[in-house]
């Protein structure tokens, strides 16, 4: 029996669970991007006029839309990897149900992350279509911004799930959202280039997966690709996801196999 077949089994469960709430999430994943793009893109755009980025001039809408695409994936990932993970350990105990069957820790981790990736894929696709409608995608290559956003999200969902499997109470999630996710959302290049940050903070921003995701999405939708930098972004994100998965495997095992 191949490993993938094992992993596919609990993946179905997360979708069965999702079936009950998909309508509500569909609304939020369409309405939220439209609101953001209307407010920031159209509203701010007419107020700010054109912006210059890497020597080219754009509408603010064109600049901010790919950033929001990556940042939204991060937010969704952070939410999906926090309460639902702790819940599957402590409250609904679904991980325990899975582990009493032939499934292994790696099946549980990969299936849950796979489900989160699917959610990010759906939301990012809707978001991307909205951006296309707003006329902010300049090249067919722009479609690669979708997998980039998913990869950006996974950099967060894996690490936060690893944390979620270690924590005893949900209070730490609120702190993570307030002091880690929100500052990244605001200061990692989504709304303005990080070169405008004071030097030390600029270096902090370079280290965040979000900046790499935002910048890569932006290159792709604006059709202004710096190849070496694009490859660096992709490699950084991939490395982050690999490290996050390893962490998640270790902390799930420590928590659930005792």
């Amino acid at each position: 029996m191949s490993s993938l077949a094992f992993t596919a089994r609990p993946y179905e469960f997360f979708f069965a669970q999702y079936k009950r709430v998909w309508r509500a999430t569909l609304v939020s994943s369409v309405v939220t991007p439209v609101f953001y793009l209307l407010a920031l893109g159209v509203g701010m755009s007419s107020f700010l006029g054109d912006v210059t980025f890497r020597g080219n001039t754009y509408d603010y809408l064109e600049f901010v839309a790919p950033g929001l695409l990556a940042a939204t994936a991060m937010q969704l990932a952070s939410f999906e990897a926090s309460w639902p993970v702790l819940s599957a350990i402590k409250w609904t105990r679904q991980y325990h149900a899975m582990l009493a069957t032939p499934l292994r820790i790696r099946d549980v981790v990969l299936a849950h992350q796979g489900f989160m990736a699917s959610r990010m894929l759906m939301t990012s696709t809707v978001y991307f279509i909205v951006i296309v409608v707003f006329g902010a995608v300049h090249s067919p290559l722009g479609v690669l911004a979708i997998p980039t956003a998913v990869l950006t999200g996974l950099a967060y969902s894996t690490v936060i799930a690893a944390w979620g499997a270690r924590t005893e109470n949900e209070a730490s999630f609120v702190a993570i959202f307030r002091f880690v996710i929100l500052p990244m959302f605001l200061f990692s290049g989504t709304f303005f280039p990080i070169s405008r940050l004071p030097a030390p903070l600029e270096w902090v921003a370079y280290a965040t997966p979000l900046w790499h995701g935002v910048d890569l999405c932006r290159m792709l939708t604006l059709d202004d690709i710096v190849v070496w930098l694009a490859l660096l972004h992709a490699a950084y994100l991939l490395a982050f996801v690999a490290a996050g998965l390893t962490l998640a495997l270790v902390s799930y095992r420590r928590r659930l196999v005792v």
Binding site: M1, A5, F6, R9, P10, E12, F13, A16, Q17, R20, T92, R93, Q94, H96, A97, M98, L99, A100, T101, P102, L103, R104, L256, V257, V258
Partner: protein, 312 residues
């Protein structure tokens, strides 16, 4: 796999430690096919830790454990595929329907959807939940949820069922329904391994049981053997008004009872013929507030073996 005569579960010097805490302290037991075997003991005796090791979700610290002839450290996946687990806390998904809970759980074992549709119908009928098949689990009563957990654990047609306190928290009527289903499974030849701190449960269901206390096995046998060996046929429960209990009960009861067990609210006197002993005590002039003669139970066995009662 396990041929006739070879035990389904074989444990020798089995130890489970969590840091410095010894949860299971070197236990030996064998479980034969078709048996209903129980671990009886109070909370914290090490029953759940033992069950989790057998369920291959908790690694063995020391000693030998073989399940279906396989080693849990190497063949956990194979072993778990042949077990049916009813955990102490239900792990049902409250938002899904009764039927979905069985089907999705069956998918974890790699069973096909068509096969599962049929299997779910059979199992729901067996636990009398057919009419609730398409309802959400959340509003079901505790007893129904427990029955659903039992139905779910049978989805892979397990060779051994592990039941960790199957009726804890249920009202008496719901307990009897669960016992009835387990009894039927036993008659169908399913091997049952259960933990309990209810002596009536152990007496109803178990062919053979071990009494556990503080991580060790303190006695082993059939319920009847244990009662014969560690207790008398009958027990007198005497209650006295405050301050009226004589200090020298040994003097009053001399020659009538084989053992005296003083408890905070009453005194237990162990005698083979309770009524005769009661009559004699009355003749001798002992006048308790109330006298109750009952048959000896596993509770008395436990009290005798450990000096403590099962449920504090």
């Amino acid at each position: 796999m396990s041929s006739n005569g070879q035990p389904l579960i074989h444990a020798r010097d089995l130890v489970k430690r969590f840091g410095d805490f010894v949860a299971v302290d070197g236990i030996d037991f064998d479980l034969q096919r078709g048996e209903a075997f129980g671990f009886l003991g109070p909370n914290g005796a090490g029953k759940t830790s033992t069950m989790r090791m057998i369920g291959c979700v908790s690694p063995v610290t020391e000693g030998t454990l073989r399940i279906l002839g396989l080693d849990p450290a190497r063949d956990g996946v194979k072993i778990r595929g042949r077990l049916g687990v009813v955990p102490q806390l239900d792990t049902l998904d409250m938002e899904l329907t009764v039927r979905e809970n069985i089907v999705i759980y069956g998918r974890y074992f790699g069973l096909g959807r068509k096969q599962l549709a049929k299997r779910a119908d059979e199992l729901l009928e067996f636990v009398e939940l057919s009419e609730r098949a398409n309802d959400r689990v959340e509003p079901l009563s505790g007893g129904m949820k427990r029955r659903l957990t039992i139905a779910r654990s049978l989805v892979n047609d397990p060779e051994i069922m592990l039941l960790d306190e199957p009726t804890t928290g249920l009202d008496p009527q719901a307990r009897h329904v669960v016992w009835d289903r387990l009894y039927r499974l036993k008659r169908q030849g399913v091997t049952l391994l259960l933990t309990t701190h209810y002596m009536d449960e152990a007496e109803q269901l178990c062919d053979r049981l071990v009494v556990m206390d503080r991580g060790k096995i303190v006695a082993e046998g059939s319920p009847r053997d244990l009662i014969e060996q560690y207790s008398t046929r009958e027990v007198l429960e005497l209650r006295f008004q405050d301050g009226n209990q004589p200090d020298d009960l040994t003097y009053w009861t001399e020659g009538l009872v084989s053992r005296i067990e003083p408890l905070p609210d009453r005194v237990l006197l162990y005698a083979d013929d309770g009524d005769a002993a009661s009559h004699q005590l009355h003749e001798r002039g002992l006048e308790p507030e109330s006298v109750l003669v009952r048959r000896s139970t596993l509770e008395d066995v436990f009290l005798h073996l450990t000096g403590r009662s099962l449920i504090e």
